[in-house]
Structures are given as C-alpha cells and as structure tokens.
C-alpha cells in the first residue's frame, strides 16, 4: 500500500480542544451573566455547536481512514478521543438544563 497515511496526534487534540472551548464559553457565560437566561441559552447553543463540531470531525476522520489516509492506530485514537470529548461535552452541558434562573 503506497497510500499516504497520517500518523499524528492532531485529531485527538482537536477533539479535546472542542470540549475545552465548549467548557470555557459555558463557564465565562455563567460568570458574565449570573442567574440570567442569557447564560443558559448560550450554553445550549454552544453545546449544539460543539456536538456538531465533534460529529463533523468524526465524519472527516472516517472518510480519511476509508481513503487509507489515516493509520489504524491514529484512527482508533482519534475515534476514542471523539467519543470521550462527546461524553465530556454532554456532562458539561447538563448543569445548564438543571440550573435555570
């Protein structure tokens, strides 16, 4: 197989950076607009965006792997990272549904 395979950690970092950005925006909103609907609504929007981003990221990974452009190890890692990042985003979003102003 002479296909070019990528074997780096970047897909993993991307997945977790999506979570970290999601977390930071949620927290900052909670600090800037305490006890106000703005914080919650913003949280829901950003959660949707984050989940979408992880989904897109995962889709791209699958395509790249099917093409043969991603080594097996790198793909499994990136898949696992996407799953963990998704779980973390879901966890992080929960309080915004429970703590309403």
């Amino acid at each position: 197989m002479n296909a070019l395979k990528q074997s780096s950690g970047r897909p993993i970092v991307t997945a977790f950076m999506i979570w970290f950005s999601h977390f930071m925006v949620l927290w900052a909103a909670g600090e800037i607009w305490p006890h106000q609907w703005t914080a919650n609504v913003l949280a829901w929007g950003v959660t949707a965006i984050a989940l979408l981003a992880v989904g897109v990221h995962y889709g791209r990974l699958k395509a790249q792997h099917a093409d043969g452009g991603l080594s097996g190890w790198s793909y499994r890692f990136a898949r696992g990272a996407s799953a963990m990042a998704t779980a973390a985003v879901v966890f992080s979003a929960l309080p915004s549904f429970v703590f309403l102003p």
């Binding site: 780096s8 973390a88 992080s92």
Partner: protein, 866 residues
C-alpha cells in the same frame, strides 16, 4: 551466518513502508542492523570514558541524567520524610483535645509546611526526578536533551528547598496554609517575611519544574530510539509527554499568582484587596487553575509507572494499552476544567458551580478506565508475588477509595458539608498515597536493580508494605468520620466533649505505624545503596521487564541504540541485549569524542542528527547557587546582596550557554553502519528551536494569566476603573513593537541570504531590542502621566503588574542582546544560520507580541472611557 531479522528492525522497516517518511530518511537503511563482525578495539572504552562521572568532589559537576536523577530522587524522598516528621508532630498535638504540645503559631506553621513541602518539594519533584532518571533509559536515549538544564533545575531545587524548609527552625515558616489565600497572606495580616519565604522560595522552584518539563517534552518527542513510533512508545513515555505539557500550561498560573501576591505585599498594590478594587477570589481562581492540574501532574506519570510495572508483574502486555494512553490524555485535558471544585463554598452561582461539578465527574471516567486496565492485565497473566506487586495492588486499592470519595465531594451539595473538613483531608491523602506514594515505593523496589545492580530486601519490603498499608488505613480512614462529625481542617486543637477524641487518637496511632514502615525502608535503602562495590554494571533485570531501561549498562544507558518497534522490545527479541551490548546498532562508540545521542523525528522516530551533549560542568551548579541567593536574599530584604547574586547568576548562565552553540569540525558523522548524520542542525528541526518555542508558550501562558487578572478585576469591580485609558502610546507603541518583531523576524532570512548577513542580523537584533525597550517606556509613561498608580486601585495594580512582568521579559531580551553581540564579536555567530540567533529571535518576537497585548488590552477595555 544468516540470522533472521530481529523483530524490532523488521517491524520498523515494515511500519515505515506503510507511511511516508517524515524526514526523507531511507528506512531501508535499518536493514543494515544489527551489524555483523566485531567492533573496533577501544571503541567501547572510549564510550565509557567520555560518559564517566568524575571522581571525588568533582562528581558534583556531572550533569548526566543518572547522576542528577539519582540525587533528585533521594532529595525528593528526603523532603517526604521531613514533611512526614512535621505531620507526626501535628498528629501528636491532635491525639487529645487541647493537648498543648506545640504552641498555636507553631502548629499553623507545621501544617503549612507539611502541605507546601509535600506538594512542592516532594510530589512534583519526585515524579520529575523519576522521569529524569528513567525516561532516557526507557527510550534508549543516552541522556536528556539539555543535561545542564536538568542539573541546574536540581541544584536550584535542592538549595531553595533546604533553605525554605529550614525556615521552620527559626519560626520563619509561613503559616497561611499551603494555598496561602489572601487576605490572610497579605501584608496586612501576615506581617514579617514568612509568607515571602513561601512566595519567593516556592516561586523559583516552580521555575525549575518548568525547565524540567520543557526538557522532558523535547526528550520524549525527539530522542526516542529509531523505529519507536508514537504507536510503539511506552505508556510511561506518553505520560511524561502529557504531564510535561500540563506543567507548561498549568505552572504559569502559579508563577503569576505568586508574582502578584508578592507585588501586593511588597508595594501595596491591591490585587486581592477588596477595599481598593482587588478581589480575593482572583487569587483562588489563579491558584486552583494551577493547583488542580498539579495533582494530575502528579497522578499521570505515577499511573504510568503502575502500568509499566504491572506489565512486568503479570508478564503480559498491558490490556487496553490504547485506552490507557487515551485515558491519560483525556485526564490531562479535563483536569483543566475542574479547578473551581475547590471553591464550591465561595458563593459561585449554581450554574457555574454545576459546570465544575460536571467536569469533576467526567474526569473520574478515564481514571476508572486505567484501574480496570490494570485489573484486566493482572488477570490476564500470572502475577509474580513480590514486593513491587504488593505495593501496586495496595496502591490501587487505596487510590480507588480516594477516587470514590472524590466523586462524593465532586457533588456540590455534599461538598457544602465536606469542604474544609477532615473528610476532604482523608480524600486527598487516599488519592495521593494510593496513586503516587505506593507506586513510588513499588518503583524503588522494582528499579533499584537498574540503578545499582542490587536489590532491596524482599523480606524487609514486605514489612515496609504492611506497616504502610495498615498505617494508611488506621490513620486516614477515621478522618472521614471526624470530618462528618464536624471537625474542620487546619485546626491546631479541638474542644473536649465532642467525641472527636477517639478518631483522632486512632489516626495518630496510624501515623506512627506508617512512620515505622518508612523508617524500616530507609534503613534497608541505606544498607542497599550505601554498600561500596559488589553491584554489577548490568541493570539486573530481576523482575524480567520488557522495556529498554533493562538494557542499560552504564551512564551512557545502552552501549548501542537499537532499532525497535515493540512495546516490550526486550521480550520481543531475546537477542536484543546481546546485540546492543556488542555494539551492533546505532552509535556504538563516540563518533566525535564527546557525549552524543541520537535525535529522531517526533512521530516516526527516524534518525535526524547526532546531538553533541555537554559533559561535566560547574556552571549549572553555580548558576543555581546564585539564583537561589538572588531570591532568598530578596526574601530577607537584603536587596544589594540579592542584586549582586542576580548579576552573578546572569554571568554564570551566559558562560554556560556560551558553549551550547558549537560548530564542530565534523559536519557529519557515522552514526552506525555507515549511516551519516549531521552534527549541527538549525531551523525548526533543531531541538533547541523546540525548547525555545516551548519556553515562549510558558511565557505566553504566564502573561495570559496576567491578562485574565485584568479582565477579572475589571469585570468584578468596574467602579474602581477611574483613570481613563490614555491613547497617546497606542500608535507609537504599536509601531515600535511592530518594528521590533519585524526586525527580529527578518534577522534570520537576511543572515542566510546576505554575505555580511552575520553583522547585519546582529545589528537588527540590537535595534529590535531598542524598539522593545522604547515601547515599554512609552507604554509605562503614558499611564504614569495619566495619573494611574499601582497602589491606588485594582486598575492600577493589574496594569502595573503587567508592565512589571513584561519589564522582566524585556530585561531578559536586553541581556540576550548583549550576549549575542559578544558572540558576534568573537565570530561565534556565523551565517548562514546559527542556533543562538534562532532561539533568541523566537524570544524577541514573542516579547513584541506580549508588549502589544499589554499595550492594547487596558486601552481597548473599557473602550468608552471610565
């Protein structure tokens, strides 16, 4: 004689065929290994000679990771014992109500020192020390990439740590708790220099921890054995990479927060003083942004040690290896999102607290994955019954208990009761002892044969284990109860009649049982390490481990650097040891007559160049001595002497760095089997470039914390923003900074292209420095003339703090310029490229960016005046 290809070499060649080369290295060259025939006579002797530790007192100038790493581990353990003794005194005091064994202030100093020494002088240094000693061996590197830097880090830590610890004997120890919250730690309530000892002493030890982290990251990424791709890298190497990156990102917050508190104490700038627009919570956010990742910085490498040892103890590969690596990465990331779970009772809005609670639950998941990976690995093999396995299994049990109480206190409502009580004390001792201290003991028993060819006593070891295991439970289990009974933390005594007497007495007994175990260990360790001779040079692989550190036969680690492609290369290839020792792989001797190791590419570990490494040198030790002198004399307010030490530090550092950038007569050398590799590499491939980039990331994080402080105080107390932002400095400042950045940037390409490039680039760097200084002056004077003063308000305090920190960076830039000019004048900064220019240029460009951030932020926010 035709032998079949060894699995390491064959695997590397196959692997390389499936992916593009990162560097253009022809991986078919691997097939030349292992070389046949005998090595030339004298080659091995030359290798041994150049790596030898000097004899007698000159040994202290050695910088090799085995020497420094060993001292480092011993020192860290020494601090563990010292802090443990402090806790014994505390436990005697608490064994009975109103016991009166030590006065109140002494007790408060004791618990502050116990926590500070354990966290700053034992826990993080111990895991860094083990990495210093173990990492190069495990990846078959001869040493860490910047040996004198690790030597400097160690000596600075030793001197600073000992002086800091001794403060308790003079009643000068800080007494504000190991987190030193203001206002209790501010100049108003903590008079005297005790708190300054903590701020300046610990602050500069953190600098040495960061230096260690930069080195470890470059070590993992660039000095692995050829063929050891990321996928085939040991779990421990992953952990070192992860915790190194975490240190880079988290420790800056500690540097900035100690800087800010020291500014408040020294100059009365109200950063945390609510009466003038500061905020005590700013300190807590900054401190815990560092503090929580700190404990995972301790946990992650220790957990990887456990993973490594469990593999050997079960004689089976790690079940779920990829899950474990991913779990460590996930833990590393998520641990940056939980910090305010230490602040659940400060009155955070419910939603904000909820976010931190959610992340705290999430971070438990990867930790649990690791535990089950360990259990599955143990189950998959036949577990050896020895002392390391005792400590490993015992540690897992203790850690799981601590992790579960951690889930409990991660729930905000329960934490409302448990926070700041002995329940939490029980929790964190369980997690730290289970995840770090027990693995540390396991590590001593497991790797001592590698260090000195001997073994600690298995019989005594069983006693050490059981005394510690029983002692831990007897001491800390009752603390869950005393916390639920209402006993807060950090109390020097308690009233009778509260039923707290019995759990406390039991805890005290437990503490002494643990102490007995540690004492027994010390006796055995001294016996084992103190004996002269008798140990073989060979790392005796008594536990039958599979990783490369077991091939080490001296300071140089392995006689020749093998091509590997397995997670347990020693298991995969029974002939590996013989081949390596016979010099049949890379660098079987010394190609240039100096100490050398192989620099390989970051993902696929393809050989790139041979790094010439420094031998013994006194400069790191002297620089560390003077650095310690600078900070500690400043603490006791001996400003002149401190300044002298500062100057001497700079001179020692410059003299040290002077020999860094050496052009050798041999541009290329035979790295083994006729493969020619360069000896001097510039550009983004150079490991020095990587270190400079990592340093700049650290500086950027520190400054980011300063910017955050500005934003936080402005958001929380905008009524204290009373000086309208002067706009006069904006245009000249930005122009000067743009010029500074541009000049520094252009210095490198111009030097490469022009014949007189060397002089021109020196001039450009000088001009860049001048612009940077001018920009700082313009910015600072702009505020001064607008009437802003540091002591007047939160606005003044944060702005002048940012200017002060930036000023320190500018001083470094100025000194660097003089250094570079000196080199240029001596002809040591030649074109077309040299490493010194490249490293300094990165610093200068960063400094300009930092200056721009400091110039812009306070002038853009608030925008419309105050």
């Amino acid at each position: 004689m035709n032998r079949s290809a060894p699995p390491g070499m064959a695997g590397a060649v196959d692997d390389a065929a499936t992916a593009p080369s990162e560097t253009g290295f022809d991986t078919k060259l691997y097939e030349r290994f292992p070389t046949q025939g005998d090595r030339p006579p004298g080659e091995f002797e030359a290798l041994k000679k150049v790596w030898e530790t000097p004899k007698g007192w000159r040994a202290f100038s050695d910088v090799n990771n085995n020497f420094i790493g060993f001292l480092f581990i011993v020192t860290a353990f020494g601090f563990f014992v010292a802090a443990g003794v402090l806790s014994l005194v505390m436990r005697v005091q608490l064994a009975a109500p109103m016991a009166g064994i030590v006065p109140q202030e002494t007790y408060n100093q004791l618990f502050t020192m116990h926590g500070s020494v354990m966290m700053f002088l034992f826990a993080v240094p111990a895991v860094e020390a083990i990495a210093v000693m173990l990492l190069p061996q495990m990846i078959a590197a001869r040493d860490l990439p910047f040996p004198r830097l690790s030597a400097y880090s160690y000596w600075a830590y030793l001197i600073g740590g000992v002086v800091f610890f001794c403060s308790i004997f003079f009643s000068l120890a800080p007494s504000g708790g190991w987190f030193m919250y203001p206002p209790l730690s501010s100049g108003v309530y903590a008079k005297g220099i005790n708190a300054d000892f903590w701020l300046l002493g610990i602050g500069f030890i953190e600098i040495s921890a960061i230096a260690g982290a930069i080195e470890l990251i470059v070590g993992v990424m660039r000095t692995r054995a050829p063929g050891m791709t990321l996928a085939k890298m040991p779990v421990y190497a992953w952990a070192v990479l992860i915790f190194g990156v975490m240190i880079i990102l988290a420790f800056p917050a500690m540097i900035m927060v100690t800087f800010l508190l020291e500014l408040e104490r020294a100059f009365n700038w109200p950063l945390f003083d609510a009466t003038r627009g500061g905020d005590p919570l700013l300190y807590q956010h900054l401190f815990w942004f560092f503090g929580h990742p700190d404990v995972y910085i301790i946990f992650i490498p220790a957990s990887a040690m456990v993973s490594t040892m469990i593999v050997t103890v079960a004689q089976k590969p790690l079940v779920g290896h990829e899950i474990v690596v991913l779990a460590m990465i996930a833990t590393g990331f998520i641990s940056f999102g939980v910090w305010a779970h230490h602040m659940f009772t400060v009155g955070l809005p419910g939603l904000s607290a909820g976010y931190f609670s959610a992340a705290s639950m999430a971070v438990a998941i990867p930790a649990g994955a690791q535990v089950f990976a360990w259990i599955a690995t143990l189950a998959s093999g036949k577990v050896q019954r020895n002392v390391p396995s005792l400590f490993l299994v015992g540690g897992i049990l203790i850690f799981v208990m601590g992790g579960l109480t951690g889930v409990m206190v991660g729930m905000v409502a329960f934490d409302g009761q448990a926070h700041d009580t002995y329940f939490v004390v029980a929790h964190f001792h369980y997690v730290l002892i289970g995840s770090m201290v027990f693995p540390l003991f396991a590590c001593f028993y497991y790797w001592t044969p590698m260090v000195n060819g001997r073994q600690l006593s298995e019989e005594v070891g069983r006693w050490v284990f059981w005394l510690n295991f029983v002692g831990v439970h007897v001491c800390f289990l009752p603390m869950h109860l005393s916390g639920l009974m209402g006993m807060p933390r950090r109390v020097d005594t308690y009233l009778p009649g509260r039923a707290w007497d019995l759990p406390n007495l039991i805890s005290t007994v437990g503490a002494f049982i643990m102490a007995a175990g540690v004492l027994l260990f010390l006796v055995d360790a001294i016996r084992c390490y103190g004996r002269k001779g008798g140990g073989e040079d060979n790392a005796r692989n008594v536990y039958h481990g599979g990783t490369l550190e077991w091939l080490a036969t001296g300071n140089y680690a392995v006689r020749s650097i093998p091509v590997v492609n397995d997670l347990e290369p020693v298991w995969a290839d029974p002939r590996l040891r013989a081949d390596v020792e016979a010099g049949r792989y890379f660098l079987p001797g010394t190609a240039t007559g100096a100490r050398e190791t192989l620099i390989t590419s970051s993902s696929r570990a393809e050989p790139q160049y041979v790094q010439i490494m420094p031998g013994p040198s006194w400069w790191p030790l002297l620089a560390a001595l003077f650095t310690a002198g600078f900070f500690l004399l400043l603490t006791v307010k001996a400003v002149t002497l401190s300044a002298i030490c500062g100057v001497l530090t700079v001179l020692c550092l410059m003299r040290w760095v002077w020999s860094n950038d050496r052009h050798l007569p041999q541009k290329q050398v035979d790295a083994g089997a006729g493969i020619m590799l360069p000896t001097y590499v510039t550009g983004p491939q150079s490991h020095g470039w990587w270190a400079a980039v990592l340093l700049v990331i650290v500086l950027g994080m520190i400054y980011l914390m300063a910017l955050f402080s500005y934003l936080y105080l402005f958001g929380a107390h905008p009524d204290w923003w009373r000086v309208a932002a002067p706009r006069g400095a904006l245009v000249p400042g930005l122009l000067l900074l743009g010029a500074s950045a541009g000049l520094a940037w252009a210095a490198r390409p111009l030097m490469a292209r022009l014949k007189r490039g060397s002089g021109l680039s020196a001039a450009m760097m000088t001009l860049s420095m001048v612009c940077l200084v001018a920009a700082l002056a313009v910015d600072g004077l702009d505020w001064w003339h607008a009437g802003l003063r540091g002591y007047a308000s939160g606005q003044g305090a944060t702005i002048y703090s940012m200017l002060a920190w930036h000023g320190a960076i500018v001083v470094a830039v100025v000194l660097s310029t003089f250094y570079y000019l000196a080199r240029w004048m001596r002809g040591l900064a030649p074109g077309p490229a040299n490493k010194t220019l490249e490293a300094l240029r990165i610093l200068f460009m960063y400094a300009a960016l930092e200056g721009a951030a400091g110039l812009l932020l306070p002038r853009l926010l608030p925008w419309g005046g105050v």
